[in-house]
Amino acid sequence: MSNNGIKKAKEQVVRMDDFVMDGLFSLSDDEFLQEAMEEGGDLAAVGEAGRKAFERAQLIVGKRRLALVRQEMLLDAKKPAPIPKRVTAQSDMESILSRNREAASKLTMAARNGAGDMQDDSEGILADFVELGAISRDGEEDA
């Protein structure tokens, strides 16, 4: 078939499809229902099958979203923790601890299972405070 012939045949198929689509989606509910009744099919069964397909589709979409969330969580877990500017962060941490001496003592003991001094724990405590948002991340250094 020539290119023109192929093009013409394709255009004919498009017009046929347009005609079918127009009939399916432009007829009023009353007209469409009348035709469905004349055809004698089980309309309720068609509706039921459609709703089941809809439920399956929702399940598929839900599972895919869940998989994406899991993937993002895994990626987040692999990211290195932000490193705050040492001088500022150390100062913030000491300020917090000086205002909460009792808490500072418990925190240090808990972090070190009751042994050692607070200076040894400062890295961990600092990271905890950053994680908790008690110390601003604004002054973060590049990792």
Binding site: D18, V20, L24, F25, G50, A53, A57
Partner: protein, 198 residues
């Protein structure tokens, strides 16, 4: 035409030109049996193009609509939108003839009031996945030798408009409408009886 489902969703008056996936989900959840029948018939008609089961085609259209890959304009009935998504997916395998992907074309056309495709638009790339002439011949065979129906169909797919075609066939308006309805129903019946293309 707006289905009851899309009318319900429109009442929400949410900002934006397209329904969100959640709004679309709510609208489809309200589909009546008749809405599902419209969608099923569209899936049956177009499943021949992608050589798949109509139910798989319908399912894929639902998934792509619910996950937000396909967006339904607020001025288009959700049933019509799903029909267009089905048509679009069925056309996806082919992109060899240089035409815009039907999915893009359809989404652009859905901005029209009816939401249906424009008869004057260029050819459907889906047609090139199979012998378009064979498809037309198959369709004509569905009229079981009814010459008037075959002529009406051929005139229509050649681009003749309603009034011109009616006069060409020398039919009254009533007879023309009746014959047009017959042709459309025969095409639907044929697709249902012959879901697969060899």
């Amino acid at each position: 035409m707006l289905s009851a489902a899309s009318e319900g969703a429109e009442e929400s008056k949410v900002v934006g030109e397209v329904y969100s996936p959640d709004e679309l989900r709510a609208a489809i959840a309200e589909f009546k049996d008749l809405d599902w029948l419209r969608v099923k018939k569209a899936a049956i008609h177009f499943s021949k193009r992608c050589r798949c089961e109509w139910s798989d085609l319908q399912n894929e259209a639902l998934v792509r609509s619910l996950d937000g890959r396909r967006k339904c304009p607020r001025n288009v009935a959700v049933t019509t939108f799903l029909g267009n998504v089905i048509r679009s997916i069925a056309s996806e395998d082919d992109g060899t003839d240089g035409h815009m992907a039907l999915s893009d074309e359809l989404e652009a056309q859905q901005n029209s009031a009816s939401g249906l495709t424009d008869l004057t638009k260029p050819s459907d790339p889906a047609a090139s996945t199979m012998d378009a002439q064979k498809m037309i011949a198959e369709a004509i065979s569905a009229f079981d030798g009814d010459e008037t129906s075959a002529m009406l169909f051929e005139g229509m797919v050649d681009g003749m408009e309603g009034q011109e075609l009616r006069e060409f066939l020398s039919l009254s308006q009533k007879d023309f409408d009746s014959k047009r309805r017959f042709v459309r129903r025969r095409l639907n019946d044929y697709a249902e009886r012959n879901p697969h293309v060899e």
